[in-house]
């Protein structure tokens, strides 16, 4: 028997919308540690890794490790039926072929119960080693989303160049070229903690495809801050923390060779 109750149900709604852009089906792996998921897009150039630790839920019960394979569009449809303030409880039986979602309004006057048919999904997991990155950049998530969206109107690849002074995003396309520079320890939003922070071993430059960054930034509503980690010639890592008890991490293969995206 698996049962996990999330008081802030809206988190689950946001998480699902993000994953659904990348992959159409994925396995939710349930264990005593919590709920985790890993899936790649069809081209295998990007990967999303989710962890919601058991402490995110109250209560959390997982008698046996369970893998719940779901079609993302179907889960999304069901989660769209939850109110933003609803509590969401996920339940499944070992050997069962459905997963159930229970939505309870705050005063319990409206209770919705949905059942989704499970799928057998055969996806390999990749092992992602702990990495000491050359550059780790923290940016307000909304700002990063805005920059990726703006630059993708100009070109398809972005070159991210990080130095101790700041980070520069550059793009080129048919229309022309452009670059956006954010300074270190700058205050973009008035809110505390919404600064641009750079932790750097050595300067680093990487080019990636904006199409995939625009998928990742749909997770911006999960956290005010996004952490971007770079090493030359390894996949870019983009992380959004979920409260204190979870994260969504994205990995994106770098562009090969020179930075020319034509």
């Amino acid at each position: 028997m698996f049962e996990a109750r999330l008081v802030q149900g809206s988190l689950l709604k946001k998480i699902l919308e993000t994953i659904g852009n990348i992959s159409t089906e994925a396995n939710f792996d349930c264990s005593s540690a919590g709920i985790s998921l890993q899936t790649m897009d069809s081209s295998h150039v990007c990967l999303v890794s989710l962890l919601l630790r058991s402490e995110s839920f109250d209560p959390f019960r997982c008698d046996r490790n369970l893998t719940l394979g779901m079609k993302m569009s179907s889960v999304s449809k069901i989660l769209k039926c939850a109110g933003n303030d609803d509590t969401i409880t996920i339940r499944a039986e070992e050997g069962g072929d459905v997963v159930s979602f229970l939505f309870e309004s705050q005063n319990q006057d409206k209770v919705s119960d949905y059942e989704l048919k499970l799928m057998n999904i055969d996806q390999e997991h990749l092992g992602i080693p702990e990495t000491d990155y050359d550059c780790v950049i923290q940016i307000p998530s909304g700002e990063f989303q805005r920059i990726c969206r703006d630059l993708s109107t100009i070109g398809e690849s972005v070159e991210i160049a990080c130095t101790k002074d700041g980070v520069r995003f550059s793009v080129a396309g048919d229309v022309g070229s452009g670059s956006v520079t954010l300074r270190q320890n700058a205050t973009i939003d008035k809110e505390e903690g919404s600064q641009v922070t750079i932790t750097m071993n050595e300067p680093c430059t990487l080019s990636v495809a904006l199409k995939y960054l625009n998928f990742f930034t749909k997770a911006s509503s999960l956290s005010g801050v996004v952490t971007i980690s770079m090493n030359k010639d390894v996949p870019l890592a983009v992380e959004y923390l979920i409260g204190d008890t979870g994260y969504v991490r994205f990995y994106l293969a770098p562009k090969i060779g020179d930075d020319d995206d034509e």
Partner: protein
Amino acid sequence: YPRRAKKSAVKSEEFISGVISYNSRLDSKTLCSRYLLVRRPKTGLLAGLWEFPAISVSSQFSDSEGESKLSEILDKFLTIDQRKGLQIKHVGKVSHLFSHRHHVYHVYKAVLEDDRIVPAKKSGAANCKWVTKAELLQSAISSSVKKILELSSEGEVMNASKRRGQKRSTKCDMKPLEKFFKTAS
């Protein structure tokens, strides 16, 4: 190509072979294709080699029998969603002469137009994998597999040059993540 004078020594077997692929659009100029390969049994002819899914067919098969056999292949390896987007074409045939056998593969090409419904493999479809052309050529395959691949690729270069706007290029400028991260045990 040459045949032995004593034909009866060589048994000719015919197969429907399905080159099933999908294209991921990386950007406006780049498509990256992946093909479905299945592994032959561990014993017997061409043991353990990878090949395009195939199924026996009688030598005088009709068009509808060919499509029906292809359907069996598709049903075995593709989910309902994956079958929705298929564009199917009978592209020709490939012969291969072994020491005592003669195989004729009637090649059908089936391309999934919507790449978002991969990579789930159908439950129970063991011993199969989706690979890029590069990975395919690095797998343990027989020479008939290469010939089948070439036959099914014949139209593509032509189409690339004729098509305006979105080009079909096989040059992907990003390596798949498996080059960076090893498969977890």
